[in-house]
């Protein structure tokens, strides 16, 4: 297990290194540069060149790359071109904000979707199953920004139950009740998206397992139906669900571009768009790297969990078969 972990972490380091190269190349290959955005009518080419020099943009790309990566290795994500602010300090609060929003939506949707999906697998095409199916289709089909605006219209502007947007009311930062009220609408929008796929997935996974021979064996033993579902079937059905959940982990940090914009949530998704518009290369690269690391960690976590739930998966070892 430890050996496996070490090997996986080494692999991950390599993957992240490759990602840094690809990210760097892609971003520099894109048209338009940081200096162009600073163009103003009075700016002469000489001044622009001086600007680029100040920012280190006149150096050859490999040198720029080297500077960037050596910074990364020391935990330095770089500075914004405009205002020259340290990216790290700007990044962490936004990650935290996104994590609060996405994490709540994720947990809410798991708590609803998985038990509901399991229940529906035992009563296929019943009223509850049909309702869940309808909600899933809504979740898949409705554009999130549209659903978000709809909620704002009704529950905020018309009924005035919840605040329209932002994370805090002015002057009430740190007030958890206030934060909760601000969370309700965006979390509803985001949960519906997660819910749609998790519920379908949980139901399908359970249905597949319930059809297996070992479930019949359990019933033939005289196991009560509740235990057939929760002991014999669920442990098997959870295996693929865990993979799905693990693969969604990076989104928790990456944020939701549309929803964050609709609700003016100061998170990663909104920041990414803002920074892309103002050509803040170093910020875009920093965000990409952070999300890549999350993808790698998410996959690793899913694999570890997988080996805990499924005894057939032995990490790092070839499963031996006895004759």
């Amino acid at each position: 297990m430890t050996e496996y972990l070490i090997r996986r972490i080494m692999q991950s380091v390599l993957v992240i290194f490759l990602i840094t190269i690809v990210t760097f190349i892609l971003i520099h290959a894109a048209p338009g540069g940081p200096t162009q955005i600073m163009l103003s009518p009075g700016l002469t080419p000489e001044v622009m060149e001086q600007q680029a020099k100040n920012l280190g943009l006149d150096k050859p790309l490999p040198v720029q790359y080297f500077h960037w990566v050596s910074g990364l290795l020391q935990g330095d994500l770089g500075y914004t071109f405009k205002n020259h602010l340290p990216i790290g300090e700007l990044l962490w609060p936004r990650i935290a904000n996104t994590l609060i929003l996405m994490g709540s939506a994720w947990v809410v949707s798991i708590l609803i979707a998985i038990p509901w999906g399991i229940y529906n697998s035992t009563k296929v095409y019943g009223l509850s199953d049909q309702t869940a199916s309808f909600i899933s289709y809504l979740g898949f089909a409705m554009p999130t920004f549209w659903f978000g605006i709809l909620l704002q219209q009704y529950f905020s502007l018309k009924l005035d139950w919840f605040p329209l947007s932002d994370m805090h009311s002015r002057g009430r930062e740190g007030d958890l009740g206030d934060l909760f009220m601000h969370l309700v609408l965006p979390v509803t929008v985001l949960s519906l998206g997660f819910l749609a796929s998790y519920m379908k997935y949980a139901r399908a996974s359970m249905l597949e397992v319930l059809d297996q021979d070992y479930i019949r064996t359990a019933r033939a033993k005289g196991v009560v139906e509740r235990k057939v579902i929760f002991r014999h079937a669920l442990r098997n059905a959870l295996i693929p669900i865990i993979t799905l959940l693990g693969m969604d982990l990076p989104i928790l940090v990456g944020g939701a571009v549309l929803t964050e914009n609709v609700f003016n949530w100061p998170g990663m998704g909104r920041w990414y768009v803002d920074m892309a518009i103002s050509r803040e290369y170093s910020v875009l690269m920093a965000i990409t790297i952070v999300i890549s690391v999350m993808v790698v960690i998410g996959n690793l976590l899913a694999d570890i969990l997988y080996s805990i739930v499924d005894p057939r998966v032995k990490l790092g070892k070839q499963g031996g078969k006895a004759a």
């Binding site: 019949r216 064996t217 033939a220 005289g222 442990r235 098997n236 031996g320």
Partner: protein, 338 residues
């Protein structure tokens, strides 16, 4: 002879489909004496497995239902029991083993846990006690190093070993009746013989009755006291193993026996086959269900379903060829003790 342990009378079981009710078994009657082995033989789709699932009342979980008839097991009618009541009988007094041992075991529990579960369910054993007994059961079914094996998962065992584990689960509570649905079909030939031997030895030790379902006449010959031949949802012939092999009466049984490749006969000579295929459920022909494939089909076979004719003693066949014989009363009298 002793009283019957299980007596199935006119059992009809089937499935609700888009085209209405489809009967998978049609008024079948079988009885099994204490300590006896009865083989239910027939080709795929003849309703053998449905019969076993109906006895266990697991058919409801497979989307089917019992439509009529009764299943007498030690003075109780299983067909009319509630699932709750059946649960205490299943795995305790009637146990079942299935065709594919690898998929019959839950991949996420150790084999020891899976055997112990039966004991904890029906005998109120503590976890530790049940586990100890599970190890003993593994030893009983001939698994070497049972202490180690008990802690392993099904994927770490071979098919033959898995089937031994499945048998250990079934025997954990010393059932009076063991239903074995094609227990050797998925196994290698050498392992098949070992499993059959094991079943026979355990039967002798525990004195249980076995309902063995198979499509393999060789297995039936090896194991059966009595044989019931099923075709398209009905029992077309039933008798002692000797009667069935010595004096097969129904043309279907005759055909089945002829289709076994033997050691005699010229190599390269054509193997006997029964022409045609078994009719799909719900599309039975009129009259005798076998007549379209029967070499002896007469006019009456096309229009009227034959009753069971009593060929001799306890040997019956549902075929118009035996019209001169008396009609079977519907039960096998055993020493008049009913």
């Amino acid at each position: 002879m002793a009283e019957n342990l299980l007596e199935i009378r006119k059992l009809t079981a089937g499935f609700a489909t888009e085209h209405g009710l489809v009967k998978a078994t049609d008024e079948i009657s079988i009885s099994i004496g204490k300590g006896q082995t009865v083989c239910l033989v027939g080709e795929s789709g003849s309703g053998k497995s449905v019969t076993s699932l109906a006895i266990m009342r697991l058919i409801e979980y497979a989307g089917g239902m019992i439509l009529g008839g009764d299943i007498h097991f030690q003075g109780q009618d299983l067909a009319s029991k509630k699932q709750e009541e059946m649960r205490s009988i299943r795995g305790d007094r009637i146990a079942m083993i299935f065709q594919d041992p690898m998929s019959s075991l839950n991949p996420v529990f150790t084999v020891g846990e899976q055997i112990a579960e039966s004991l904890r369910l029906h005998q109120d054993k503590s976890a530790g006690e049940a586990m100890k007994m599970a190890v003993e059961l593994l030893r009983l079914v001939g698994i070497p190093a049972p202490e180690i094996r008990a802690k392993q998962y099904p994927h770490e065992l071979s098919g033959g070993m898995c089937q031994r584990v499945v048998i250990a689960i079934a025997l954990a509570c010393r059932p009076e009746l063991l239903i074995a649905d094609e227990p050797t079909t998925a196994l290698d030939v050498t392992v098949q013989a070992q499993i059959l031997d094991l079943l026979r030895n355990l039967q002798e030790e525990f004195g249980m009755s076995i309902l063995l379902i198979t499509h393999d006449m060789g297995v039936a010959a090896e194991m059966a006291d009595r044989i019931a031949v099923m075709y398209a949802g009905a029992i077309v012939e039933e008798g002692s193993a000797l009667e069935i092999f010595d004096q097969p009466s129904h043309p279907y049984t005759v055909g089945l026996l002829q289709s076994i490749p033997g050691f005699e006969g010229e190599r390269g000579s054509e193997l006997y086959t029964i022409r045609g295929t078994i009719p799909p459920l719900g599309q039975l022909p009129s009259g005798c269900r076998f007549h379209p494939r029967c070499p002896h089909a007469m006019d009456i076979c096309r229009s009227q379903e034959p009753p069971d004719f009593l060929i001799s003693g306890e040997h019956r066949a549902a075929c118009w060829l035996f019209e001169d014989k008396p009609v079977w009363s519907g039960t096998n009298e055993r020493g008049g003790k009913r």
